[in-house]
């Protein structure tokens, strides 16, 4: 038996160029599959951690998924706002430890603008209870100060002190710029790997100020309030888009949720972010299953290639197998010999694939950290990945049996004198 393995090894080595290519294709397919699984896991993790430490997200009544989409991911628009009065009542509730009002609707060159108050930089958490930190600069103070996310700064090349102009709505229409009231960048946040990186933060008063001379989504003709005079107006917001709240005790979360949902003066919705993110992921996650399925198919294609290469070589190896039989090998030995060859290739392919995965993620780590703010720490193979690898090994063992069986049948038919 040991000698059969040694022979299988020599035989594979003898045809190392053809087999090397199939080995490489198996390795790459394994890297792809494990890589997709890893990214899937990381994406899900990052997604689930895009907000943390917030007990309830509150908005006008809509679906929980919709609410999460606009309040946390700044995708889409709220159908209704929350009146300032309602916000104040909720914030004043004795069980509420902190609250972050959010006012959305404007944009800056495609990046969403978020109006809030200074408490945002203190109470907003992401990831594993991490708070926001400043790469440079400080929170906004004046009405026309702004704090931008890391990706906004990186892709537009902004530095503290730069002036920027906000656009009414999501952008795309001309003449909708708030160009009479430019903002100055006072701070840039460190990368978080969350939607915060793509957000332009201003004060609630700023949102109010830039819309003083607007009505119903358009500039009021012949009525202009220069930036210097906005402070003379009452800049208290009339409404906000959403509220994030933290409670003094998590135990009160369902009572508070019920309170908000039953709010008499206007229809509101309070959701637990963890639950809503899970629901949202089920929608987004359909794609990740498709990715995983496609990469699994790539592995199967790689294995089919191997089976085809070994089967194709069988015909030119008929003499060789007949000789091995003539010196006393059983047909079962021929089966082992050819199966072992397939197993060698697939196992080396899988090992190489795992090595490539680690090599590539190590090489790409600085790049990904820089671009997406996700720190990829080289981590050991997880239990899920172990299962995946076990499944790949299982399938490749099955695949290796095919040429083994082909050779077995052939050597039975050929005996000692194959008729070529």
């Amino acid at each position: 038996m040991r000698y059969l393995f040694s022979m299988a090894w020599h035989s594979a080595w003898n045809r190392r160029f053809t087999l090397g290519l199939t080995l490489l294709s198996i390795a790459l397919s394994v890297t792809l599959l494990l890589g997709v699984e890893r990214i899937r896991h990381d994406a899900r993790q990052a997604f689930a951690q895009s907000v943390s430490g917030t007990d309830l997200v509150i908005g006008a009544r809509t679906s929980p998924v919709q609410l999460m989409l606009y309040s946390v991911f700044h995708i889409g628009e709220a159908t209704n706002n929350i009146h300032w009065q309602a916000y104040q009542e909720i914030a004043a509730n004795p069980t509420v430890a902190w609250s972050i009002p959010i006012s959305l609707g404007d944009s800056h060159r495609g990046f969403p603008v978020l109006g809030t108050h200074a408490g945002y930089f203190e109470h907003f958490h992401y990831g594993n209870r991490q708070s926001l930190t400043f790469e440079t600069g400080k929170p906004f103070d004046g009405v026309f100060d702004t704090v931008i996310g890391s990706e906004v700064a990186a892709s537009l090349g902004y530095h503290p002190g730069d002036h920027i102009v906000l656009t009414h709505g999501a952008g795309g229409l001309t003449g909708q710029d708030h160009n009479d009231k430019p903002f100055v960048v006072t701070g840039i946040l460190a990368p978080t790997g969350t939607p915060v990186d793509r957000t332009v933060h201003v004060s609630l008063e700023a949102i109010e100020a830039i819309h003083l001379d607007w009505q119903g989504g358009a500039r009021m003709p012949g009525f202009e309030i220069p930036a210097e005079y906005v402070r003379k107006f009452d800049l208290t917001p009339k409404s906000v888009t959403a509220i994030l709240i933290g409670l003094k005790s998590r135990a009160g979360v369902f009572r508070m949720q019920r309170l908000v949902n039953d709010y008499a003066d206007e229809p509101l919705l309070a959701v637990l972010p963890g639950v809503a993110l899970d629901q949202l992921w089920q929608v987004v996650g359909a794609a990740e299953h498709a990715f995983l399925a496609v990469s699994a198919m790539v592995v199967v294609v790689g294995l089919c290639g191997l089976v085809a290469v070994i089967l194709a070589s069988l015909n030119e190896r008929r003499r060789e197998l007949a000789i091995i039989r003539s010196v006393g090998a059983r047909p079962a030995d021929i089966f082992v010999l050819l199966t072992a060859e397939g197993v060698f290739i697939t196992l080396s392919g899988i090992l190489l694939g795992i090595a490539l995965l680690y090599g590539i993620s190590a090489a790409m780590a600085p790049l990904i950290q820089g671009h997406f703010g996700i720190a990829i720490t080289p981590r050991p193979v997880s239990l899920d990945e172990l299962w995946l690898i076990a499944a790949i090994i299982g399938v490749s063992l099955l695949a290796s049996l095919v040429p083994g069986y082909g050779a077995y049948r052939m050597s039975l038919a050929d005996g000692l004198t194959p008729r070529i």
Binding site: V327, G415, L416
Partner: protein
């Protein structure tokens, strides 16, 4: 006469899917140490007979015994073991495993048979030394021993195959047209070497060929065409 090394009785063999018998032999015996020339034209069933003797084909009826072992009474794996232990084969050409060295090619039967491994070492030799000794006797230069088999000339390959057939004193060496790929003067040289080594190790030799000119130096010639009672097919005259 001592008990025969090969004893065939009432043998009939037919390939599955074939309409008529390929072989029908009433009796064929070969004594220990005999050197037999088995002659028959191409297609007369010589290779088929060797497949039966090697235990990879099973007769439709009749008995074959090899060194006293009744092949038809044995299971396939036992026949495989008997072949490993007792028979050395040399074929027409492409006898060697291209990815193994000459020494490893010669030692191949010892990997499958503990008996031959033991007998190869009986004179106190190492396995490799014994393989080297046989290769020397068959005029293969020592510097070639560790080389890959694919680099040799046909004549050299056949001599390496002879060394493989002889290692570990298998009892019977069966050569299926081993010289037909060689040119004329090489044929006789090879035959002479093979005969010499078989006598030296007291091995029974069954030499199969369609070429009468080679028959001279053998103890006995068997004409398969007359021995085989099956309706002749192929090139029988």
């Amino acid at each position: 006469m001592a008990s025969p090394v090969i004893d065939i009785e009432q043998l009939r063999f037919r390939y599955s899917g074939s309409a008529s018998d390929c072989l029908h032999i009433e009796r064929m015996q070969v004594a220990a140490g005999e050197r037999i020339f088995l002659h028959g034209p191409s297609g007369s069933g010589k290779s088929t007979l060797l497949g039966l003797l090697g235990g990879v084909l099973t007769p439709s009826c009749g008995t074959i015994s090899l060194l006293g072992h009744e092949l038809t009474q044995m299971r396939a794996t036992a026949r495989d073991r008997l072949r490993a232990d007792c028979v050395g084969f040399i074929f027409q050409q492409f006898n060697l495993i291209p990815y193994l060295s000459l020494l490893d090619n010669v030692l191949l039967p010892c990997r499958f048979s503990a008996l031959r491994r033991g007998q190869a070492c009986i004179s106190g030799h190492h396995l490799e030394a014994e393989a080297g000794r046989l290769l020397d006797h068959l005029d293969i230069a020592p510097e070639l021993h560790k080389r890959a088999a694919s680099r040799l000339s046909v004549g050299q390959q056949q001599r390496v195959a002879a060394a493989r057939a002889l290692i570990g004193r298998p009892g019977i060496v069966i050569a299926d047209e081993p010289t037909s790929a060689l040119d004329a003067d090489r044929q006789f040289a090879f035959l002479e070497l093979l005969q010499k080594e078989c006598s030296a190790s007291e091995t029974t030799l069954l030499f199969v060929s369609h070429d009468h000119r080679l028959a001279a130096d053998f103890d006995r010639t068997i004409e398969l065409a007359t021995l085989n009672l099956a309706p002749t097919n192929g090139g029988a005259s």
